[in-house]
Amino acid sequence: MTETDDIDVETAVPTDSVEAALENLEGDGLEGYNYAYLDEHTKREVRRATLKAIAIPGHQVPYASRPMPLARGWGTGGIQASLSLLGPEDTFKVIDQGSDESVNAANIRRLAEDTAEVATTTDTTEADVIQTRHRIPEEVLTEEQILVLQVPVTDALRKVDSSDAANRRRHAHRNYGKMWVHLYENVVEWGEINIASRYPTMVGGRYLMDPSPIPRWDVPKLDDADTLFVFAAGREARIYAVPPHTGVEPLAFEDRSFQIERFPDQSCAACGSTDTYLTEVETDDGERYYACNDTSFCLKRQDDPALPKDHHLERSGVDWGPGTPDTGATDGGDDE
C-alpha cells in the first residue's frame, strides 16, 4: 500500500461513489486533479527514470507511462517528463515542428497552464523547460534550461530489427554491426546515406541513440552542449537523455560523411536568414518559397537580421550546430 501513502486527501478525486465521481467531473475545469495532473508518486517515478537516463547517457530507461488526456503519439511522453520537472516558478515553452503556434503545441501548453499553473513563453531564451516535437531551437540553449524532446520511436536499431528484445541485447553488447551494414548498403545502393531524420547517433561512445525525428541539421547541437536533453516516449514508455557536455556523434564513414540538409541559394522569405533550418512553402499560385522553421527566432531576426544565435549569452562564438562558429557539420564533411 505504499502507493497510497502519497495521497493528498484534499485534492484526490472522490471514489466513494460513482455519483460523487460524476459530480466531480461536472466541476470546474481541472479542479480535483493533482498539481501538474499526475499524482506525486507518478511524477517521482518519471523523475527517477530521468535521473537514471542521465546517469547512463543514451540508454533507454523503461518507465510506466501513464495514460494522459492527450492521444498517445501526440506528445504524451514529453508532457509526462515536462510535468514531472515543472514547478510553479517555471516558465514553459512548447514547440511543434518549430512553431509555438501549431495546434498541438497550443494544446500541450494549455494542459500545462491549466494543471501546473506555469508561466508560458514563446521566447526560447526565457524558458526554463522547453518541450519540442522534432526541432532543437536555433538560439543557443544554456545550462539553466532543459529541452524535452518528444519521441515516437525510441530505438535507432528499429530500422534494422523490429524486435526490442533483440535490440536490447545489441545495446547491452554495444553490437551495432547491423546498423553499420545498413549504412554501408545505403552507400552501395544510393551512393550516400539516405537517412533523413532520426539519424542514428552515438552517445558518449557507448550507446546508439535515436535522437527523435529532429532533422540532421539539429544533431550537431546535441554534441557537448551546455543543456540537458531529455527524450521521452509515452507510447513506447521509455526515457533517455543526453546530459550536458556529452559527446554525440552521428554515424558515418570516413569517405561518406554525415551531411546536414542543404538549402542551396535559399534564404528565409520572412527574415532573410541563411543560417537557419528552412522549410518549403507551396503557395496557392504555384510559387515556392523557403521560410525559417523556428518561428520564434524568425520574428527576432525580422527586427534585427544580424542577430546571432548566441545573442543572449555573455560569451560569443558559441558552437551551436550549422551556421555557428567552430562546428564541424557546416562544412558538410566532418562528423567529428
Binding site: 515542428q97 501549431s102 494549455r110
Partner: protein, 389 residues
Amino acid sequence: MGYVAVTAGEEIIERAEDLFEKQRLAGDEDTITVDQLEGQLERLTAQAMSEGGLYAPRLAALAVKQAQGDTVEAAFLLRAYRSTLERWDESVPVEPAEMFATRRVSPAFKDVPGGQILGPTKDYTQRLLDFDLEGEDDPDDPTETWDLEDAEPTTLTNVMDVLREEGLVHDPEVPDVDAPTDTTREPVTPPVDRDAVLQELARGETGAVTALGYSALRGYGQVHPTLAEVRVGKLPLTIEHPYTGDEVTVADVDVSESEAVVPVYAKRDDPQFAFGYGLTFGRNERKVIAMTILDASIQLDSEDEPAENAEFVLDVVDGMDSFGFIEHLKLPHYVTFQSILDRIRAIRERQGAGATGDDDAKRSTADDSTESGENEPTDRETIEASDDD
C-alpha cells in the same frame, strides 16, 4: 502562410471542439441519456470498459456519449480518468467457478456438469433487419409470460478442471498472487510474464485481438483450439474488510470468459494438451475467444508466426497505442518531410536524375521570390561540393 504559423492555436482548438459537439446536438431529437446508453447499448459500454481496463458501467456510458459512440475514444477517456485515481486496495482472487453464469456453452462435450446454458444470444438468429424496431412504441417484454419457478442457478463445474483431473491438460504456471504484474504501473519489457500478457490482451482493442486471433486460426499458426467452454456472467468482487480482515463481497462484475484446449502436445514424454484462457469485462465473446487463441499461441513461444510472437502481439494489440500513433500522422510533419526531400534530391542529383528536372525549375522560381539574395552563405558552397564527392 497559414500552415507554417497557425496563430491563435487555442482559439482554433476550442472552435473545433464546439463543432464536434454541434454534431451531437445538431438534430431535432432529444439528446440520448446516459441511462439509455447504459441500459440499451450495453455492448458499446462493455467494449469501452474492456478496452479501458476500468469496470465502471456508468462512467463508460458517459464516455460513449461524449465520444459519440467511438469505443476506442471512450476507452481512452476511461483510461485517462483512471490514471488519475489512487488505488486503495486489491481484490481477493476469485475462482471462475463462482461465476453466476447467464450463458455457458461447452463445444467440447455434448453435455457437461451444470448443463449447457444458451442464455441471451443472437447466435442462431437470422440476420434480417427488423423494421419493427423503427418507430417502436413502448414494446412489451417478450419474456414476461415465462414460468421461471424452476429456474434455480446451479453451480457449474469448470470443464477444464474435468480434463485436468484426467491429466490431459498441463497445468498453468502458478502466478504470484501476492504481487501480480500490473502493466498500467510497470513498463512492459520483453520477455513478458504470462500475467502481463493476459492483462494486455484483456485490455486489447477488440478488432485487433479478433484479427490476430483469426490469423492463427486462418493458418498463420498452429493453434486451432477446441473450446472447453465460453461463459458470460457475474463474478463477485471480494475484498478484505479493513478492520475485521474478513472477506466481504462488495460488488459484481460482468465478465466474459473462455477456455480452450489446443491439440498441441506440450511434452514428448508426457503428452498433454496445451491450453488458452481469455477473460474480459462485459459481454464480448468474440474478443475472449480470440484472446484464448492468442494466449495459447503465445505460450508456444515461437517467432515463426505473428500470433505466436508475444512481443509482436503486445506491441500492436493496444487500441490506445495504435489509435494514437496512426492518427498522429495528421500532425504537421514538414520538418521531417523537408529532411526527406533533401535526401531524395541529393540522391537524384548524384544519379543525374534531378539535374535538369522539375526540381531545378521550381527552385529558381522560389529563388526569385526571396528577397535577400545578397546574403549568400559561404558554407553552402562547401556542402554542395562535398555532396558531389
